[in-house]
């Protein structure tokens, strides 16, 4: 990032190679749309280039990048109010392996995740999938670390309620039914 900030725009390609997969998955889980996720991922890296002077060298690049991603998603949602945050059909490719039962559970879990309010969904995505520490999420969202933990705890409870409502049964069938 320091090289990009120093004016070497070609270094952005290296940053893209390193982070675009994770960023794509963040947008895919936020939006459910593969094509939109590709567009927004590209948009984030162009914003990284445009806003490179605002990056501070002691800041973690990932936290800064996710803040840009968070803003890009909000901008997109504002611009396209007709597109709800929950598409009727997710254009995520089905896995090639035929583990039908698991696939159905995964599909249900994805739908439950998409049915959550975007801010709560984002908390779970950042903490569970993107590997961000609670402290980083707190920096990104501008809240205390313990507030993030409490919100993650609540969001998880809400996700379970939605999942159970969609599956029509209490408890979980995913992950071997631990309840």
């Amino acid at each position: 990032m320091a090289a990009v900030q120093g004016g070497e725009s070609s270094a952005l390609g290296e940053l893209f190679n390193r982070h675009h997969g994770a960023l794509y998955r963040y947008f895919l889980r936020m939006s459910g749309s593969a094509s939109l996720s590709e567009d927004l991922t590209q948009e984030v890296f162009l914003r990284v280039l445009r806003k490179s002077e605002t990056w501070q060298r002691d800041a973690r690049f990932a936290s800064w990048m996710y803040r840009i991603a968070h803003n890009a998603f909000i901008d997109h949602t504002r611009r396209n109010k007709w597109e709800t945050a929950m598409p009727e059909k997710l254009d995520i490719a089905a896995p090639a392996t035929r583990q039908l039962e698991h696939d159905e559970e995964h599909a249900l879990l994805r739908r439950a995740l998409m049915a959550m309010p975007p801010d709560k969904r984002e908390l779970l995505i950042l903490s569970r999938f993107q590997g961000l520490k609670y402290e980083q999420i707190g920096e990104l969202l501008g809240v205390e670390t313990n507030t993030v933990k409490v919100r993650v705890f609540r969001a998880l409870g809400q996700l379970r309620e939605i999942y159970e409502r969609m599956s029509g049964q209490p408890g979980l069938s995913v992950a071997g039914g631990r309840n």
């Binding site: 997969g21 559970e105 992950a175």
Partner: protein, 252 residues
């Protein structure tokens, strides 16, 4: 008895693997007593088992192309255009030599229907989620005859709101061929205040400066003097205004 809420921090830390031994012990003791929190922990585990989707390999190629400049039209696109032109020429001469005079009304009706269909396709593509589909919509709109206000509105909306710089640039270029209603011109002026892309700002300046409107020059001068304007945009404006002055042409 403590409520689940009071274990929230311990549970969140335990799930993330960042809990102290004491916090972990408290959370695990609570899991032993509370089926609801135990189910939440199982759900956390299940989330981690969701397969990770990978972006298409083309994404890197597209981004590399974007970094190295504007994408050039692929060869097949030129072949498609050439084929369309060839078919058009053939149809014209075939119609000229084979259609009886009485068929001219039918042909006019057919042309009208095809034009309407193209407009519908263009408007529909402009509403797609994918930027490449919206770009196709803009290309379609450029091929339209006439000036359908709905198409101009859709292009103007795309110019103002599209998240992709490429699409906004293409919309500005496409609008060049249409007479702009006052409302569209005004929203383009407002866009100059808000759009954060210097490229889009320059494209909008080109769009507005090509209009035969005596007020354009004064507004461009005001814009040039505005603080916070991107230096590249200011330089471009300065050059544009100087060129027009030397030609004795006050920006149309």
């Amino acid at each position: 008895m403590m409520t689940c809420q009071e274990f929230a921090v311990d549970i969140a830390d335990t799930l993330a693997g960042s809990a102290t031994p004491a916090a972990r012990a408290r959370a695990e003791a609570h899991f032993g007593e509370c089926s609801s929190c135990r189910a939440n922990a199982a759900l956390w585990q299940a989330l981690g088992d969701l397969p990770a989707d990978a972006p298409s390999p083309e994404m890197q190629v597209k981004f590399g192309r974007h970094l190295s400049g504007r994408p050039s039209a692929p060869r097949w696109a030129w072949l498609t255009i050439a084929a369309a032109v060839a078919v058009g020429i053939f149809s014209f001469f075939a119609g000229r030599f084979t259609a009886p005079p009485s068929a001219s009304t039918d042909i006019a009706v057919l042309r009208h229907e095809v034009r309407n269909l193209r407009e519908v396709v263009a408007l529909s593509l402009l509403d797609q989620q994918s930027a490449s589909e919206r770009l196709r919509g803009i290309r379609y709109s450029s091929a339209l005859e006439g000036t359908d206000p709905e198409v101009v509105d859709a292009l103007s909306r795309t110019l103002r709101n599209d998240p992709s710089v490429d699409v906004r640039l293409a919309a500005a270029d496409a609008l060049q061929r249409f007479p702009l209603p006052a409302s569209v011109s005004e929203s383009a002026w407002q866009l100059l205040e808000h759009d954060d892309s210097p490229l889009v700002q320059i494209a909008v300046i080109d769009l507005l400066s090509s209009r035969k409107d005596p007020a354009v020059r004064a507004r461009l001068e005001t814009l040039r003097d505005r603080s916070g304007l991107d230096s590249n945009v200011r330089d471009y404006l300065q050059a544009l205004l100087s060129t027009q002055r030397s030609k004795g042409n006050p920006v149309q």
